[in-house]
């Protein structure tokens, strides 16, 4: 006990002297809360400022904090630290490699972390309208859905059909070279199924409760008023560039 006490004191002194009382690597490696690309009130009157603040600073922050805890646990385990190193985007595609005791945390909090980042970035105060004429996205939507209205119909039905908490997505399948509308439960990401995200839409109640309560249809209308088609097009162009040079 005496030896242990002396060891603790020595460690503390050493820690204070070297400024490493808490290991600096832990804090330095924590993922930050991804910033909003615009002010909290920028999406008014469609998405209210209060919702944006709570959604970003409470919900998204909580996913960030809990993901960091899971990553720190993995980093501290010699057999798991390669998982923490691979980056969360890649890790969500390798969930089967995460031990069961941590898999739920990574899936839920890692998914929440990534999904919300994608979501903020596909909204904009300069959104609405439609994909640019002749853009890759416009071309792909016509090919896969017939028309923009065709896409909106399928997307809306899918959103309204999510029971409970989940997300609605426009995804690109690089193998099939097609767009598709997908839905996932909780914080599951379609990237775990090998799909690329073009548009992400949060349909958890917290995303719209303040303004719309249970009227998800009204929320969806508001989303179309702030949807950033340019960002969606940019994501698709990147995926097409990375995957193949062929026309759709």
């Amino acid at each position: 006990m005496k030896t242990f006490g002396r060891w603790v004191c020595a460690s503390l002194v050493l820690g204070v002297l070297t400024g490493t009382a808490t290991p600096p690597t832990v804090a330095a490696q924590n993922l930050p809360l991804p910033p909003l690309p615009y002010a909290y009130d920028a999406l008014e009157p469609y998405i209210d400022e209060q919702t944006m603040r709570i959604h970003h600073l409470k919900h998204h922050q909580a996913y960030t904090d809990n993901l960091n805890k899971a990553l720190a646990t993995m980093r501290g385990d010699p057999e798991l630290k390669h998982l923490a190193k691979m980056g969360i985007d890649k890790l969500l595609q390798h969930l089967d490699e995460v031990p069961p005791r941590l898999r739920g945390q990574v899936r839920n909090h890692g998914g929440g972390y990534v999904n919300h980042d994608q979501f903020w970035r596909n909204l904009s105060p300069n959104g609405a309208g439609e994909p640019g004429q002749g853009s890759a996205l416009q071309h792909a939507i016509e090919k896969s859905f017939g028309s923009l209205d065709g896409f909106k119909t399928v997307f809306s039905e899918a959103c309204l059909g999510v029971f409970g908490s989940g997300w609605c997505w426009l995804c690109f399948n690089t193998e099939a070279q097609t767009l598709s509308v997908e839905t996932t439960s909780n914080q599951d990401s379609p990237t775990s199924a090998g799909l690329e995200v073009i548009i992400a839409l949060d349909v958890w109640e917290h995303a719209y409760y303040l303004k719309h309560q249970n009227r998800r249809k009204d929320y969806l209308e508001a989303i179309f008023a702030v949807l950033d088609w340019q960002e969606a097009d940019a994501r698709l162009r990147k995926v097409l560039h990375d995957a193949t040079k062929e026309d759709l």
Partner: protein, 226 residues
């Protein structure tokens, strides 16, 4: 309220059998009245939440349950099996939503009318025997309620196979019966049940709810379930 919840469950269980078809059930489900005012559970759950939870969310389950049963009846008449199968999902969701919320309103009460406190009687003894005390029961219940990912429910339930009380959780609007257990007490952990009051701080909502459980109703259910 208890009688209405039971009736709803029985009707749903018999739906699709020759005794009672979807056609005769469609349109029969109604939003039950609460036994207390919307503001009566304050400060533990706000009047704002109670009103929207009851008049919007629960009402939507009732409306959609009736509509689904009507569609089911049409499909049944035509022998359209594909549609009948497809309608199982909204039937489970809306039927479960209706059953669950009937139970929920019934197991809450204002502190001034018996809400809160500690259970006594048979359920009190069962909790004591299973968990060693009310505090340990509360800890496990809270942990499981927090652990529900996304939307769902946490239940104190009677397991007729194990002949024991246990805590189970269900996702979305899956009723407690889907676990093979009978519900004694249910806590709605969908965000709509607490978001206005505590936003994402579900543990606070779980803690506040201990002040409003109607343990005498839980005792009634326990006696009926065993």
């Amino acid at each position: 309220m208890l009688a209405r919840a039971s009736a709803a469950k029985t009707l749903l269980a018999r739906a699709g059998t020759r005794q009672m078809s979807a056609a005769s059930l469609a349109g029969t489900f109604k939003l039950p009245d609460l036994d207390y005012d919307y503001g009566a559970l304050e400060p533990h759950v706000s009047a704002k939440i109670m009103e929207v939870h009851h008049t919007k969310h629960h009402q939507a389950y009732v409306t959609n349950l009736n509509a689904t049963l009507e569609k089911y009846a049409e499909a049944e008449e035509k022998g359209d099996m594909a549609t009948m199968i497809a309608l199982q999902t909204p039937l489970k969701f809306n039927g479960g939503g209706h059953v669950n919320h009937c139970l929920f309103w019934d197991n809450l009460a204002p502190p001034s009318s018996g809400g809160g406190g500690e259970p006594s009687g048979d359920i009190g003894s069962a909790i004591q025997n299973k968990w060693g005390g009310f505090e340990d029961f509360k800890k496990e219940f809270a942990a499981k309620a927090v652990g529900v990912q996304g939307s769902g429910w946490c239940w104190l339930a009677w397991d007729p196979t194990e002949k024991s009380v246990r805590i189970v959780t269900t996702a979305n609007q899956d009723p407690c019966s889907t676990t093979g257990c009978k519900p004694l007490l249910g806590l709605d952990v969908w965000e709509h049940a607490y978001w206005w009051d505590v936003q994402n701080r579900r543990p606070e909502y779980i803690e506040n709810s201990w002040n409003i459980y109607n343990w005498s109703k839980v005792e009634e259910r326990f006696k009926a379930a065993k």
